[in-house]
């Protein structure tokens, strides 16, 4: 199911034994989409109100609402409209509220028109009707608020009178001044007509622009893969997921040409700690889905009762992405999020158990990846599950976080009556389990990622010229200087990077390494000190130093690979020779040039970004967490590519990371950042 076709109305939704939800309430997917689209709309509206001269942004607000109107039922749109207008009101006051509300009904109308397949004429009709309704509403309010209206009109009259009297002092303008006064007086007298006309006109414009933007965006979204995985199965009966037995269970995705999970025999007993390992593509995620209730293509899964996803005594799942899993804004609220109203777990005891003791009142936005994952484990434990599935929970977390999580996981089966299924590709995690199940056919030792100790310098780096490319002198940066929220991110950082160097900037959460990366790329000007690129201040030559962000998808702005590479490097996309050469530098085949961006894998996206950046021959290349989210073979491939580029072409490479694994050859030099201060600078830590 791609993400552009309208959803058939959901028939089931979890009507399980222990929880009955009123049938017309929003399903989890609908709720998530409503909230995120509402946040997107309100963010656009707020930016258009708060940033001066960015008012045009408000014309884009109907698009997210239109997407909701196109894909889901009306209830979802109403919930999103409420949430978006409240957020806009809280932040940007009444003007933000009005913008969002207007655009919500324009967006909703255009989305519904698109879904029903009516065309442009219907949009015009809808725009007129909405304009009339809006106009009537505003006129009604202004009639009720008579005094405010009179005040506004009198103030405007005073201003116009002042301008007119000024103009009348000069002979040539006297007649024009009198005309202006007359027209203005007429306008004030017939104000309802004026308001109605303006309302219809503006609604028409917003509708047409919204319709155009929505159509273009829907075209582009065709083919964007739908990444949601979990579905609540429709089940009845007592909740009892363990002991579960898989007999020759096999799974093949509809339309695929090979099995995602080959026939598997597996038994999970209560109280066991099992580690599931295997290379990428061996079916680890598919196994997780089967354990969560999906039906196998062949074979059988036997359980004593229902899966009970997220319910008391049922199955709990902790997933890979730390930020998206945490749903509450406060730590204590997140632990209880989603529990039925009658349940009151001991929040402090749970937080104590996962090592977050005393943090109940903290804001979740300020936590590190490891802490967020531990919070997710605490929330899972609040449901007293019989089976806890941890799906690669340490992949996007730094070393310190991984150690903390491992500590938590290893104690779980001892303190609770539950089974723990830990899907991982780290060997130290597999070792603390009671037993390990390897899903790959061949015992591929190379596929396991080891945790590395701090680097020791290896062979001498290739000889290179010692021309300094980047110089930082006494760089410090403070966010929000002068406000009570002032925070110093960097303090007196000084170092020099020469041509052909490989530097690793290592630091934990909150060490300021992302800020340092932005300063080096010239995207932020430091509040103290200076950062020079080839002798010039970095923020004056943005683009001389290339930076590849951690979220590669956000850096890819065009629809196709060749368009993207050409746009990033600044040449015409018709110059296929240069496009293919650029792709070749990063080891991608020229046939990829015509591929759409959303059909690329994570590793390929990263390489396309680097290809575009390198085609401009930058002075240096900064990579922010280049290995995050990649599996072991992709990590090795990328590192080998970058090392070759550095050694053979003299490219200066700076890597920002919270890990050391495998980076010794690419970056012989390591700088440690600790809370904004440089701890050591030199080839040995």
């Amino acid at each position: 199911m791609t993400s552009t076709r309208p959803e058939a109305p959901a028939e089931h939704s979890a009507q399980t034994a222990s929880r009955r939800r009123p049938p017309r309430s929003l399903t989890p997917v609908e709720m998530a989409h409503a909230s995120v689209m509402a946040a997107l709309s309100s963010a656009l509206a707020i930016l258009s109100v708060v940033i001066p001269f960015a008012g045009g942004l408000s014309l884009l607000v109907p698009v997210p609402m239109g997407l909701l109107g196109y894909r889901y039922r009306l209830r979802v749109l109403l919930a999103a409209a409420f949430a978006a207008s409240t957020v806009a009101f809280l932040i940007a006051g009444i003007s933000g509220f009005m913008v969002v509300l207007n655009c919500a009904y324009v967006g909703g109308a255009t989305g519904i028109i698109k879904r029903r397949g009516w065309g442009m004429p219907m949009v015009v009709v809808a725009g007129t009707v909405l304009g009339v309704l809006n106009g009537l509403w505003i006129i009604a309010i202004l009639i009720v608020l008579e005094r405010l209206r009179t005040l506004v009109f009198e103030a405007m009259t005073a201003n116009v009178d002042g301008v007119v009297s000024l103009m009348s002092k000069f002979e040539p303008f006297r007649q024009a001044a009198a005309d202006v006064r007359a027209v203005f007086g007429l306008a004030l007298q017939y104000w309802p007509v004026l308001i109605m006309a303006y309302s219809i006109f503006s609604m028409m414009v917003v509708s047409l622009v919204g319709w155009w933007a929505l159509s273009r965006v829907l075209e582009r979204l065709r083919g964007v893969p739908d990444v949601h995985k979990l579905d609540s199965p429709a089940e009845t009966g007592q909740v009892a997921p363990v002991p579960v037995r898989l007999r020759e269970a096999r799974f093949r995705y509809p339309g695929a040409d090979h099995d995602a999970l080959r026939p598997l025999n597996l038994a999970v007993e209560p109280g066991e700690h099992i580690a599931i390992t295997g290379a990428n593509g061996s079916g680890k995620t598919t196994l997780m889905l089967l354990l969560c209730g999906r039906a196998p293509t062949s074979g059988s899964i036997e359980r004593p009762g229902a899966v009970g996803l997220g319910q008391q005594g049922g199955t709990a799942v902790v997933m890979q992405h730390p930020e998206s899993q945490v749903l509450g804004t406060r730590v204590a609220d997140d632990v209880v999020w989603g529990l039925p109203a009658e349940t009151h777990p001991d929040v402090d005891a749970l937080l104590e158990e996962v090592g977050l003791g005393g943090m109940a009142e903290r804001d979740t936005g300020g936590l590190s990846g490891g802490e967020l994952q531990r919070l997710a484990v605490a929330a899972a434990l609040a449901r007293q599950p019989s089976m806890l599935i941890a799906d690669e929970i340490t992949t996007m977390v730094d070393q310190a976080g991984r150690d903390g999580l491992l500590e938590v996981l290893s104690g779980l089966t001892e303190h609770h009556r539950m089974a723990l299924v830990n899907i991982t590709h780290y060997d130290n995690e597999a070792q603390v389990a009671d037993r390990t199940v390897n899903l790959s056919q061949s015992l591929d030792n190379m596929a396991m990622v080891g945790s590395a100790a701090a680097p020791v310098p290896g062979h001498a780096p290739a000889p290179h010229s010692s021309r300094p490319v980047l110089e930082l002198r006494g760089v410090g940066h403070e966010y929000g200087a002068g406000t009570p929220w002032a925070k110093t991110a960097l303090r007196d950082v000084s170092f020099t990077v020469n041509e052909g160097d490989g530097v690793l900037i290592h630091g934990g959460n909150g060490s300021g390494k992302s800020t340092l990366a932005w300063i080096m790329a010239g995207l932020t000007a430091p509040t103290t000190g200076e950062c020079l690129v080839g002798g010039r201040p970095a923020h004056e030559c943005v683009g001389d130093v290339a930076i590849a962000f951690q979220a590669a998808r956000l850096q890819l702005m065009r629809s196709r690979v060749d368009l993207e590479v050409a746009s990033a490097a600044g040449f015409s996309p018709n110059d296929t020779g240069r496009v293919i050469a650029a792709l070749a530098t990063v080891g991608l085949d020229g046939s990829l040039a015509g591929r759409r961006i959303d059909q690329l894998s994570g590793g390929q996206m990263r390489r396309v970004v680097i290809a575009g950046l390198l085609a401009r021959w930058p002075q240096a290349l900064i990579l922010d967490e280049p290995l995050a989210g990649l599996d072991a073979p992709s990590q090795r491939g990328l590192l080998r590519l970058l090392t070759d580029l550095r050694i053979n072409t003299g490219l200066t490479v700076i890597v920002i990371s919270h890990d050391f694994a495998g980076l010794e050859e690419l970056c012989p030099r390591t700088l440690h950042l600790d809370r904004g201060v440089l701890r050591s600078s030199g080839p040995t830590p």
Binding site: S3, P28, V29, M31, A32, H33, L40, A43, V63, R75, A79, F82, T86, G93, I94, R147, L148, D161, G162, A213, V217, R220, H228, L230, D231, S232, M319, P322, S324, L327, T329, A332, D333, V335, V336, W337, G338, A360, D363, G365, G366, S368, G369, R383, Y479, G480, G482, T483, P484, W485, N509, S514, W518, A525, A546, Q550, A551, L554, S567, E625
Partner: protein
């Protein structure tokens, strides 16, 4: 999705913090972040503050006269004092705004109208100026009220307060619970989306300016670029939505949204009483004479 895609203190959305000119650090606009520290006002229930905003807005909308304005302004000023809000929270006001205000005041004065002031043998008609000042005062008080709520309320408290306030609406078959959950999730997703916009904007700044032929081609190219940016933003938002949907499913659907019960305490009833008294006074106390 990565855990930290953009720099900046997480949990606070700061706009304008990476302004490129370091010369004069203008104070930026900070959204969704209460002033650190605590005070009587910080401890009040979020619902009380929402009701206060409504009452003040209603009074000023129906009675924008000098006495109500003065009463509301005093209320807001006293609250700001009680909440120990420092000077630095007010973002720097850009120069063009001052110029606009000055222009408005000058033209309003030239507009004339009763009453008339006698200053050193010049008769200045200040009627128009008074009207202009009144409308400006109303705007400032409303802005200050809204800002006050944002400076003293923790974001996490807003959605539970809305859920409690909306309970009387349930018999009207309005899905208040669903709406409160959607609001809490939107407030959670909002800073993440702002971070992503900042990244999109930065990634765009890194690109070289394209050399464009004139006229029609340029407009078409601009339109395509706009759609590209919008699609990138929407794609990322859709991915977040899918992941969030999984997270909600993994928790067995929606339910509670806050650990502590959300409702008014003793201090809140006192505050609500004060607001009611001042509001009623503003409605009924009127001095005879021109508005």
């Amino acid at each position: 999705m990565p855990a930290n895609p953009a720099p900046g203190p997480r949990g606070a959305a700061i706009l304008g913090a990476d302004a490129v000119s370091p010369a004069r650090q203008r104070r930026p606009v900070v959204l969704l972040r209460p002033v650190p520290g605590t005070s009587v006002i910080h401890e009040l229930w979020a619902g009380t503050k929402i009701i206060a905003v409504f009452v003040i807005s209603l009074v000023l909308a129906f009675h924008p006269r000098w006495i109500p304005i003065a009463l509301m302004a005093t209320l807001v000023a006293v609250t700001i004092r009680l909440a120990h809000i420092p000077r630095g929270v007010v973002p720097s006001i850009p120069r063009w705004l001052w110029i606009l205000l000055l222009l408005g005041a000058v033209t309003a004065t030239l507009g004339g109208g009763e009453p008339v002031l006698h200053l050193w043998s010049i008769d200045v008609e200040v009627g128009g100026l008074l009207k202009f000042l009144r409308i400006t005062a109303v705007s400032i008080v409303l802005l200050a009220t809204g800002a006050l709520v944002s400076w003293t309320t923790n974001v996490a408290d807003v959605a539970p307060a809305v859920a409690t306030l909306g309970r009387p609406l349930r018999p009207l078959r309005i899905p208040v619970d669903d709406w409160a959950v959607a609001l809490s999730l939107s407030l959670r997703a909002f800073p993440m989306l702002l971070d992503e916009f900042r990244l999109l904007y930065a990634a765009r700044k890194l690109r070289p300016r394209p050399v464009l032929p004139d006229g029609r081609m340029r407009r078409r190219r601009w339109a395509v670029e706009l759609v590209d940016l919008l699609t990138a933003g929407v794609t990322v938002a859709l991915r977040r939505a899918d992941e969030m949907g999984d997270a909600i499913t993994a928790r067995g659907g929606t339910g509670q949204i806050s650990a502590a019960p959300s409702g008014p305490k003793k201090a809140d009833w006192v505050a609500l009483g004060i607001i009611a008294v001042v509001g009623l006074a503003a409605f009924f106390v009127e001095i005879p004479g021109p508005a």
